[in-house]
Symmetry: C2
Subunit: 363 residues, 2 copies
């Protein structure tokens, strides 16, 4: 994997992340394909809207259909018919957020499946083995994601555990697969710094910041974003995990982050909440009943080129599958288009005015 | 509308039905788009698989989103982004099969909505007005669809009512819209004959046989199919309503029917039941867990070209939207491909061997 920064606008970075399956323009948004499909979309549609990388969830795929099934069916790319780059998380976040019962040990986490309550164990070695079988282009280290709030003592012990797990991951790195570390430390700057320093000592292909947007106030999140970015090497990709709010992403790109993922565009689409250049829209509203205009008059996506708000409202109220398709298509297109425009603004040195313009849209 | 029979193989007919929105090759299968969308499919995908005409349901669209909404949004074609031919049923069948309460009058039927219990009235004049607003290329007369079994006296009175309603429909035919009559009469051949004669006297652009597959034994259905076809004019399209079983459709084409519609391919797809050249498959079966072969090794559809049975099983068990998409795509492709091959067999005078071959597949 190769990372090249082509332009900077203050700290905002315009880059190229080259993998053997294709090059990703950064700042990049990674749509989430939890169970081997970006919900409601086909791989062809993902390419059509310009997705250059998607994210797969190790925890979910490990439970369903199971690692052995994906192995026998040729790995995740082949399984789901996606030949462009893919990043997999390590399963850490889901083990801590979804499992109804878990026991943290030195070598990993014992947990129960949120589906059937069955008992499982994943540690750093297991997470690397699973991600190796999935065959993603970028793997993430197995980390502990602590809750908010957490006291300093717990958070301090946790980053040591995460660092020790990261070392094990590095020792088990799969050939041909990049490995990103995850900075933790809760809302404590001294711990964020220590976490970053310890992980940089080990050395990874990229660095992520995890453990944000876990319930803390926006102000604290933004402080951690601003504080963390300069701790990370200039020449490696920086990934802010799980953040998809436009204001937060603008703040993070301004600070120097390069990669993002979030379920916001897809989950909201299925619930009838759509992002447009005029703000957030709930498509079920009565006022759209006979509205023959497009969802977003400034959008060039398939949904906006071919369907009226009145039709989209009808599909949503009728719970038609096409509703989830057209809504998801639009929201993902809108996100990817936002990133295209943001990259262009960095290239032309106009990121600040781009940021101000987008901060004024009522999302 | 123009109908031309280009080849015959005994009574089986190969024809062309020309409308202002496009020409339909017959025998033709019409996928069902109940609520302004063929469930799980986009209009572009419908064209991709070779659909030349789809069916819209007047009853459903009248209730949701309502005729006035579709009128204000430019008619059903524009509303749903489908510019090829469309046939609408009259709502009669659904009024009799879905409404929890109905009162038949000389001039139509008073009924309650199956959605919210609200009171409505549709008669032949109303059915024509609604279909005029929907703007379909082929409208159907408003008919009474009697239950099975029904006694001779009731069935006799019913065909007189249906004929009188058909006369009103004819008097209210919309400009530029073809109108098909519907032969009723239950399982009584004398009544089927009288119904056909009375409707032929009025004169329509095409003739349908309704009131079959309402619970009667296959043998009775096949007798009615064989008996009814020769009652209908040679030079007009003949439409057997609601029949989608392969054996039944082969029987009907052999008798001289030209058009079919059924929810079988779409509803079964969503339930994980798939039609293949090797027979009917339930995709959830354990044996497909690690099966890396295509759903149907002889099928050229997008689903079969790109996905394994193992992946399709995983999507189905995970209730992913893509499961319904890929399954529906395959089943509809399989149906339309069946009709393509059936038409070719009529052209080459090999319909009988085609029929025998398909009757041997365990559907």
């Amino acid at each position: 994997m190769n990372f090249l920064i082509t332009t900077k606008d203050r700290n905002a970075r315009r880059g190229l992340l080259a993998t053997s399956r294709g090059t990703i323009n950064t700042p990049a948004f990674m749509p989430v394909g939890t169970l081997g499909t970006v919900k409601a979309m086909s791989p062809d549609e993902m390419k059509e809207i310009g997705a250059e990388i998607i994210l797969g969830n190790t925890y979910h795929l490990y439970l369903r259909p199971g690692t052995n099934v994906i192995e026998q069916l040729g790995g995740l790319h082949s399984f789901m018919n996606w030949d462009l780059p893919m990043l997999t998380d390590s399963g850490g976040f889901q083990v801590f957020s979804l499992s109804p019962l878990r026991k943290i040990r030195e070598d990993g986490v014992e947990f129960r499946s949120h589906i059937d309550g069955s008992l499982h164990f994943i540690g750093p070695a297991e997470a690397m083995k699973i991600q190796g079988i999935l065959g993603s282009d970028v793997a993430m280290v197995f980390d502990e994601c602590i809750p908010y709030p957490a006291d300093h003592e717990y958070a301090a012990r946790s980053i040591d555990l995460t660092t020790s797990w990261a070392r094990t991951c590095k020792g088990n790195q799969n050939p041909g697969q990049a490995l990103f570390a995850i900075i933790q430390g809760g809302m404590y700057k001294d711990l964020r710094r220590k976490s970053a320093e310890d992980l940089l000592d080990i050395g990874f292909d990229g660095y992520a910041v995890g453990g944000v947007s876990v319930g803390e106030p926006k102000g604290e999140m933004h402080e951690i974003i601003d504080f963390s970015a300069p701790l990370l090497p200039e020449d490696k990709p920086r990934y802010l995990m799980g953040i998809g709010d436009f204001g937060d992403m603008l703040k993070a790109v301004e600070a120097g982050f390069d990669m993002f993922d979030c379920i916001m565009p897809t989950r909201n689409a299925r619930n009838g909440t759509l992002f447009t250049s005029l703000g957030r829209i709930s498509i079920k509203r009565e006022e759209f009943k006979c509205d023959d205009g497009p969802l977003d008059p400034h959008c060039g996506c398939y949904t906006c080129r071919n369907y009226s708000r009145g039709y989209l409202r009808h599909l949503f109220l009728s719970r038609e599958i096409l509703s989830m398709r057209l809504n998801t298509y639009h929201n993902l297109y809108f996100y990817l288009d936002f990133f295209r425009k943001m990259r262009a603004s960095i290239e032309t040195g106009t990121f600040q005015s781009f940021k101000r313009e987008w901060e004024n849209i009522p999302f």
